[in-house]
């Protein structure tokens, strides 16, 4: 059964790490002082950001459109200085939205999400611990991998069902979605490659592994590290192949996720559905077995139609609250899920 032992995979602490026990600090007082200083820097940065956000509302988004990327990048850089890199990333996503029809709505919602995060940080102490962790994570407070790995793990046989690579500011990242066959739990294994580097290929779609997954703190959190994976033979039946959800089911789950994490951008799902061809620039639709339809977010939907042949098939992908991005087809014909670079490549 055991084929490969990937002890080096996914977030194992470096061998060069200091030989301290988990959570043991060399100088707790100094660490607390550093943490307080960081929190102060973040708070000061977010105060500036709040003023900037309100200025955009007073001056109007039309001005933001004309000012373009440098205008947003300046404040994003300020957030990096303030040690709030998560907020900087949210800001840097705005210029890409300043195009196409409906951009004012999208940008307004985006700014509102950032404003909500600023407000949540102001009241951090009043929030439940899980939500506190979520807010800290969204803002970009560092999380020590060793701490995540030392928290209790979730043991299961995990199947990698889909993957997507993205590039943001020359930093390549890979999202590999895993599904626990016993727990039914979804997990996200995220890895990054700096410019010129390579993404980790330890776990790829179709792989199965027996492992404990250690989830990052925070409510609604999918991101996890893999502890001591043992690769095994992938099962013939893929998750969700028999019980693919409807779009309404997925919508309900996403509502629950948003209640736990209002900044959640996406959620994994298997929808038993068929793609519907649309002409011209219109986005294709995905029709589920109940007859409901949603927009399909895919650079090249033709391979998906080829697999479907016009009939419902279990399609794995990411739901963002409005559209579904297909990442693989969990076909019974092939043990490994069908996935293509065409699906997996998106900014």
């Amino acid at each position: 059964m055991v084929e490969r032992d990937h002890r080096a995979a996914a977030g194992r602490p470096s061998r060069r790490a200091p030989a301290r026990r988990p959570r043991e600090l060399a100088d707790p007082a100094a660490a607390a002082k550093r943490a307080a200083e960081r929190a102060d820097r973040v708070s000061a940065g977010l105060e500036e950001l709040e003023r900037w956000l309100l200025d955009q509302m007073r001056g109007g988004l039309a001005a933001l459109e004309h000012a373009g990327y440098p205008h947003v990048d300046r404040v994003a850089a300020r957030m990096v200085d303030a040690q709030a890199p998560g907020v900087a990333s949210m800001l840097r996503a705005i210029p890409a939205e300043l195009a196409g029809s409906g951009w004012p709505e999208r940008v307004l919602e985006h700014l509102a999400a950032i404003y909500l995060l600023v407000q949540a940080h102001k009241r951090l102490a009043e929030l439940p611990p899980d939500l506190q962790a979520t807010v800290r994570s969204r803002i970009g407070y560092p999380i020590v991998k060793a701490d995540v790995l030392n928290a209790p793990g979730v043991p299961d046989r995990w199947l990698a069902v889909g993957m997507i690579d993205t590039v943001e500011f020359r930093l390549e990242s890979r999202r590999v979605w895993l599904h626990g066959l016993t727990t039914g739990r979804w997990a996200l294994w995220l890895n990054f490659a700096p410019p010129g580097g390579y993404l980790d290929t330890t776990v790829m779609p179709g792989d199965a592994l027996d492992a404990k997954l250690h989830f990052y703190p925070g409510s609604g959190q999918h991101r996890a590290l893999i502890g001591r994976p043992i690769m095994v033979e992938a099962p013939a039946d893929q998750p969700g192949a028999a019980t693919g959800e409807t779009i309404a089911d997925v919508q309900r789950r996403f509502a629950e996720l948003l209640a736990a994490d209002p900044w959640a951008a996406r959620m994994p799902a298997v929808i038993e559905s068929a793609p519907i061809v649309r002409s011209g620039a219109e986005r294709w639709l995905l029709r589920d077995r109940a007859g409901a339809a949603c927009e399909l977010l895919s650079g090249d939907p033709w391979p998906l139609l080829a697999h479907s042949g016009g009939e419902p098939i279990p399609i794995f992908g990411e739901w963002d609250g409005r559209t579904f991005r297909p990442l693989s087809v969990l076909s019974g014909d092939h043990r490994k899920p069908f996935t293509t670079a065409g699906y997996g490549r998106a900014a």
Binding site: M57, E105, D300, G309, D320
Partner: protein, 211 residues
Amino acid sequence: MIALSDWSDLVTTALLGTNRRQVPTGLPTDWARTSDALDSAIEVLELAARHRAWSRAGSRLASADPPVAGPSGGELAPASAQELLSRMLDRPRPATVNAWLAGCVGRGWLVAPGHWTPLAELAARTVAYDRTLLALALGPRGQWFVKQNPDWGRLAAQLEAAVAESDLSKPAEPGPSMASAAERSAVDTQHLVDLFGHAGPFAAELEAIFS
């Protein structure tokens, strides 16, 4: 949820700026803090944050008629053959791909759906890819697939004509009857050997898989 017209009104205010346009009145009172001292810029952001949550958590779903499914096909070529085709399509040459198609048709197999898109894209660009072999290897469902894309309209017509001209318009059955159809399209043993001979580095693998 905030009504669409109210939301559009709010977006207009955000677009023009609260210095120039008031926050729309008549919005649901529980949607934002209500205070005389409230900064209208804050009000816009709070309303937008709530709208964002509502619309992402429960937007109304569209409905759609079921798509027209293509006619189902026959037996797919085995994994080894599909893997060989994948490698051929990495650097496609008509001679090698045609040889694969001939071998596939000769055995009464079909090309897997995962290859339909690259094959259609290639064949739409040049007639060097044998229309009859391609139509047979795609099978009825693959031909249906090609018809769905207007960019492949000419190819779809050529596939249809090739099938009609070859008197192969009847749905093919996998196995011996399909093989006889292949014979009628001149994919005989000698022809296969000739085609495989032009497949360069893939010749031996084609021979092993399809002979």
